[in-house]
Point group: D2
Chain length 163, copies 4
């Protein structure tokens, strides 16, 4: 249920991928493809989530059994979106590119590009907005400076919008 025409379905240029330093590979599994032999649209959110977790792991943080990272933050996903440009098929190896494109006081944005590794075709682009919250009240609280600094240092381009 995704777009099959390979050349014109995204404004993203190949060069834009150079902004993404973080990459993780996943392989399309049998239960992820539907009756058309193509990956069901919901699995892209999971590929993107793998990208997000491995992105944070690359900073040296680990996932605790309670689901929080050892960076000491508690974050909620408040938005996800995916644009489907070309289809992923059974057994395809996918490159999931992830970057943080902006940080505000208490929220930030993950951007993703998913590429067919072998054919070097952009399959989908997506993003997620996450909010930093207080552990008890679950109300938005500003990110600590350390969080902002380490991402600013890592990313080639990241729009910091802090007051």
């Amino acid at each position: 249920m995704q777009f099959l025409n390979k050349n014109e379905n995204t404004n993203l240029k190949k060069e834009d991928i150079l902004l993404f330093k973080h990459k993780v590979q996943v392989r399309v599994r049998t239960w992820e493809v539907d009756w058309q032999g193509i990956v069901h649209n919901s699995y892209y959110l999971r590929y993107m989530e793998i990208g997000r977790l491995e992105y944070r792991r690359a900073f040296g943080y680990n996932l605790s059994p309670d689901g929080t990272f050892t960076d000491g933050l508690k974050v909620f996903v408040v938005h996800n979106s995916v644009d489907y440009h070309n289809v992923a098929k059974l057994d395809d190896v996918l490159d999931v590119f992830t970057r943080v494109s902006w940080i505000k006081n208490s929220s930030f944005c993950f951007e993703h590009v998913i590429v067919n590794h072998k054919e070097n075709i952009i399959l989908s682009t997506g993003k997620g907005i996450l909010v930093n919250v207080d552990f008890v009240s679950n109300r938005p609280v500003p990110f600590p400076e350390t969080f902002v600094d380490e991402i600013k240092q890592y990313e080639i381009e990241c729009n910091i919008m802090r007051e």
Copy 2:
């Protein structure tokens, strides 16, 4: 991983739900909740897809074993997005509201509101854009008039943007 503050996380007003004539119920299942006891963000795309299928079924069409509807159309999902306002929890009964908010020449937009049935709280809003394609070339083709007419007739408000 979603937003927990119940009162201020959506601009959608309760009245706006009156625009949605189609509703289907789902129950949150054990494997859909994560370590926080709340529904994983990827499942909302599936709840929305259940809404879309049942919406078309309400017009008298059925799903063929090959995954196409008996309306004779072949459509691709080219975009999905979800805004998470409040969390769905284990065993919650959810009302999935679905409407078609606009139709262009060869694409249209499904909008969704997902509501906790018992507590009457908006949990998430979302939308998907689908494109009508030729069965062989997979290239966009205009919707037949019958498709546009039957939706126009059904919906309280639907923006028709046909040339």
Copy 3:
């Protein structure tokens, strides 16, 4: 990836289904079918779990947000098995039959038959063994008499093997 020959793949006779008083219906969803248009083998464990939850709900118990039932018991699944006799296909409506076939001191067995509702064909049979454990030590403890009594009263045939 399941067996397609309809007449000879199970020893279960139609009459045997009469032993199953509890039934719940599920509909096969788009993401559950694989590239062959048939339900992936892992989803049968989920259909069976829906059967188990609704079986307990039929006794008046509810699922708490923490995943335990209001019957005050904590149980672990220690075994699951499925025999695939015929395939379930996209959009099929399935009858999931569930019964408790035996109860020992601290374990009991759920048996299931999954039937294509429209065609009245047995698709799969399965079972699960669950163990009652102490909330703190997670060690097996005997079921309370009330649990055994209410199931004995409900089931047409249930082998009680208590010492």
Copy 4:
């Protein structure tokens, strides 16, 4: 919903794992753990399936887009079972061991052991029985000698029961 006591829940001895030459690693993902922070019982069938696919890939065969392997065979899963001995938790790295334990005329058996890589604890054991079928009639047909020979050559111990 699995058994938590680590020392006594399986008869499988550590030495038995020496019979398994094939191993593949998976990492437990966020959506695979339930409200207890442990992997939902249905995902073990998927870990086992990853083991099966990679086992065949190790023989040099690939998965075609239509879901069949380039070994030219069409096989159906007719049985799956899992015994849960200890729990897998969020972010655990699992070793999935796979072997073919027996081959009959037109069926064979995959056996699996799933081990927590870091803690070296057996989490679950399982098996699946698959049947070789004719591409058109879907009726069981004997395996070609090449299939039997290459597995016999690879496995340390495999019970060949051919007539």
